[in-house]
């Protein structure tokens, strides 16, 4: 795409992203692989993957985000029971229907029990596909945790090198960190812009701009985001009578694009969310010239990353953080939007509920499934909620 040549409008950028997101297959990844020797692509299950390590090893990290609402699950539901979230099944289904064929491997993480078992089931069903599993530390207080994670990353780097046939150098990794820093920093700025002027950038627009980074090479994504930031900052927009909402709970399985639009159309400005959290992950840039960049990445995970229910950092209270986030974003309310059967997000809710009630912040609890395609009921529920706040 020629993002450098003509200044693009948000609408045209979003349209471009929507098209890529909705296209089955991984055309951009395949093109990237074919453009040079010693390249591979890996599918990364949510929530966070140290993408830099793969990219520095000649492996394009591709984000897996479930099957959306166009995929029918015909095979995988005999492997995972009815009470397991959809993304676990739709990821396996994609494998069983050969949609993941262009990927040379998959990586899973210690986010929850179903995702962990999926790593095993996937490996058994596809013995030709290398499957990696990262155990992220859950002891955030011990001084050895970054060191442990650094060693874990060294192991992952070895795996990545085997996929592409190219071993990464420290310089490669530093360059990848700088590139992904640029991406994350631009996303942070887009998030800040939406927080301050949500009428200039809707979440239904911001979301695909971020999500497309799952599928295209990072250089391209960095440029696209820079264009989007420029376009959004100079965009005219009319403020509407809407409530400001912080949305939380959708950090893994993703709601359909139309559900995001429906929430906004029901009278909400979404001023913060935890969609696709892995694309932002860090609260600040990872040091770019660290002597040991693996350690820098590991340290960032422990000491400078965003809160999510799949991380259990006992130094902080996640529900207090949510209250603070609602306040710092001048939110009128919080929507807790959990994927159905998602144990980590459902477990977070009672603590959120208590803290929000104590802080006097109204909230609405909703569940979604990636495969849902009717939004009238949710929309009217949100409308009622919004009205109760506007006319109270």
């Amino acid at each position: 795409m020629s993002t450098q040549v003509i200044a693009q409008s948000i609408e045209s950028l979003v349209e471009y992203c929507d098209r890529i997101i909705e296209e089955p297959g991984f055309a951009a990844a395949v093109a990237w692989k074919n453009a040079a020797p010693k390249r591979a692509a890996i599918g990364c299950f949510p929530v966070y993957t140290p993408t830099e390590i793969f990219y520095a090893s000649g492996v394009l990290p591709v984000g897996l985000a479930g099957g959306g609402n166009r995929m029918e699950i015909a095979h995988a539901d005999s492997r995972f029971q009815s009470f397991i979230c959809s993304i676990v099944k739709s990821t396996l289904e994609q494998g069983m229907t050969e949609l993941l064929e262009p990927l040379d491997g998959l990586v899973f993480h210690s986010i929850c029990d179903p995702a962990r078992n999926l790593a095993s089931v996937y490996a058994r069903n596809f013995p030709g596909t290398p499957v990696e599993y990262i155990h992220f530390p859950q002891n955030f207080e011990a001084e050895e945790s970054p060191r442990y994670l650094r060693d874990e990353y060294a192991r992952v780097a070895k795996f990545a090198g085997e996929l592409s046939g190219r071993e990464m150098t420290t310089e490669d990794l530093r360059a990848a960190i700088a590139l992904y820093n640029r991406i994350r920093e631009t996303i942070r700025r887009l998030y800040a812009l939406r927080r301050d002027a949500p009428h200039r950038l809707r979440t239904r627009e911001l979301y695909p701009l971020v999500r497309v980074g799952h599928l295209i090479p990072p250089e391209e994504h960095a440029e696209l985001l820079a264009d989007a930031l420029h376009a959004a900052a100079t965009r005219e927009g009319r403020e509407r009578d809407r409530i400001r909402v912080v949305l939380t709970g959708s950090f893994c399985e993703q709601p359909p694009l139309d559900l995001i639009a429906a929430i906004e159309d029901a009278g909400c400005y979404l001023v913060d969310d935890d969609f696709l959290l892995g694309r932002r992950w860090f609260t600040e840039n990872v040091p770019e010239n660290a002597e040991d960049p693996l350690l820098a990445l590991a340290d960032g995970y422990i000491n400078a990353s965003l809160p999510t229910p799949v991380k259990h950092d006992m130094r902080v209270s996640p529900s207090q953080l949510l209250v603070e986030r609602a306040r710092s974003h001048r939110a009128d309310a919080v929507i807790v939007l959990c994927a159905k059967f998602c144990e980590p997000s459902l477990f977070a809710y009672p603590l959120y509920r208590k803290a929000l009630q104590e802080a006097g912040i109204p909230h609405l609890f909703l569940e979604f499934e990636e495969k849902m395609w009717m939004f009238d009921r949710v929309k009217s529920e949100i409308e009622t909620f919004v009205e109760s706040l506007l006319f109270d």
């Binding site: 029990d113 259990h312 006992m314 144990e343």
Partner: protein, 421 residues
């Protein structure tokens, strides 16, 4: 078709020792001054607490006791009232409900925790559970992070072991602060020595069901021995219990006595029991003269029958190995397939029953794949669903029909050599 009847000395001793244990919990709750640490069953490091005379409290054991006594539902409902989902693990809900209900149970008053020791061994729900207790109570918590088994060899790496050892040293520091006493290395060695003898006996007991008839049911009777294995391991009483149990079960084996009058089917069972309906569930198998000769559930706290033993000469290293490698919960799902395969072969069983529980996704997520794997290998495999804690998910008539149909069908099929149909 036989009714279950099985009562021995070990049952009485179990009752006696467990009521002593629960009396100690009640005393602690009433201010005996003994500190109590909450911890989880998965590969638990109870020996370390013994060395400090810290009372171990296992919320999972309490939750299951509530379920067995049909007391869990009101607690589950009060947790749901607080915002817990019907889809969350009901062990957690029963425990949280009980905690806020005054910590009163029919078997003990549960003391407040002096330390929340979250041994994160495989189960991600553990982290939520203890995180919530920490947030609700404000009590000190320690997160013991155990890297999951993710290597092709099924072994922890050198780095994993070092990482766990370092954390164990921090944990010792926390216990020292809590008790105001330095670690007594001899006491630790002694607790580990007692555990090692206990584990050896438990392993021998496990191997007794290789005999025909199996002298006890490796699911329904194993669970009687599991509470002492966690709550009393590392003490002389714990060892005494397992000596008694082994002697009694060995005598039965020698005399050719099993839990049923006749042993017709030998099966392996995967998944935790439906505690609120244990009796009814057991009878569904007994009426077919079917005996479980091995169960994966009985290895959540440790997998001794495949060769693990604590080492008093290397106490911390062996605690680390137990946490990392030698328990079901920290092993990956495919290692469980291997475990079942070994049971089918070495324990000479001819069927697999998978009890899929909604609460525990550590166990259940992917069991459909497991069924497919074993069915393809020619093992008659049955998958039934209910729950381990929530009584609302047990449909008795449907369950019985499925089990009847299963044994009906295998009664008419040719069996592998040596199987005892």
């Amino acid at each position: 078709m036989t009714e279950t009847h099985y009562q021995g000395k070990l049952h009485h001793l179990q009752k006696e020792l467990m009521s002593e244990y629960y009396a100690a919990l009640t005393a602690a709750a009433n201010g005996s001054g003994v500190p109590a640490a909450y911890l989880l069953i998965g590969g638990n490091p109870v020996e370390l607490l013994r060395a400090f005379d810290i009372l171990p409290v296992f919320p999972e054991v309490n939750a299951l006791q509530l379920a067995v006594r049909k007391q869990s539902l009101p607690f589950i409902q009060s947790a749901e009232f607080m915002g817990y989902s019907s889809d969350n693990c009901a062990y957690v809900k029963a425990d949280i409900g009980m905690y806020f209900g005054g910590r009163e149970t029919p078997f003990a008053t549960i003391p407040e925790p002096s330390l929340l020791l979250c041994n994160y061994v495989g189960c991600n729900v553990y982290l939520d559970w203890f995180g919530h207790l920490a947030e609700f109570t404000g009590k000190p918590a320690f997160q013991l992070d155990i890297p999951f088994i993710r290597s092709a060899s099924g072994k922890p790496s050198k780095e994993d072991i070092e990482y766990v050892l370092r954390q164990l040293h921090h944990l010792i520091g926390r216990c020292e602060e809590l008790t105001g006493r330095k670690l007594d290395e001899d006491r630790l060695r002694e607790a580990v020595r007692l555990s090692s003898l206990t584990g050896d006996l438990w392993s021998k007991i496990k191997h007794l069901t290789k005999r025909t008839p199996a002298p006890y049911d490796a699911y329904f009777d194993s669970v009687t021995m599991m509470a002492p294995l966690y709550c009393l391991r590392g003490t002389p009483q714990g060892l005494e219990f397992f000596e008694t149990a082994y002697a009694e079960l060995l005598a039965k084996a020698e005399a050719g006595i099993g839990p049923l009058e006749k042993e017709r089917f030998r099966y392996v069972i995967e998944g935790p029991p439906p505690w609120p309906h244990l009796r009814a569930f057991r009878d569904m198998f007994s009426r077919w003269d079917a005996v479980a000769v091995a169960s994966t559930y009985s290895t959540v706290g440790g997998l001794w029958e495949f060769g693990f033993t604590h080492d008093p000469d290397h106490p911390l290293e062996s605690i680390a190995r137990h946490l990392l490698e030698w328990n079901l919960t920290n092993r990956n799902f495919l290692q469980r397939y291997e475990q079942i395969e070994r049971y089918l072969e070495e324990w000479n069983a001819n069927a697999l029953v998978i009890h899929s529980v909604k609460s525990c996704r550590l166990f259940s997520a992917g069991q459909g794949d497991m069924r497919e794997y074993f069915t393809k290998r020619g093992i008659p495999t049955l998958l039934v669903e209910s729950d381990l804690e929530d009584p609302r998910y047990f449909s008795e008539a449907q369950m019985r029909n499925r089990i009847d149909a299963f044994f009906e069908s295998i009664a008419h099929r040719p069996t592998r050599e040596g199987a005892s149909v």
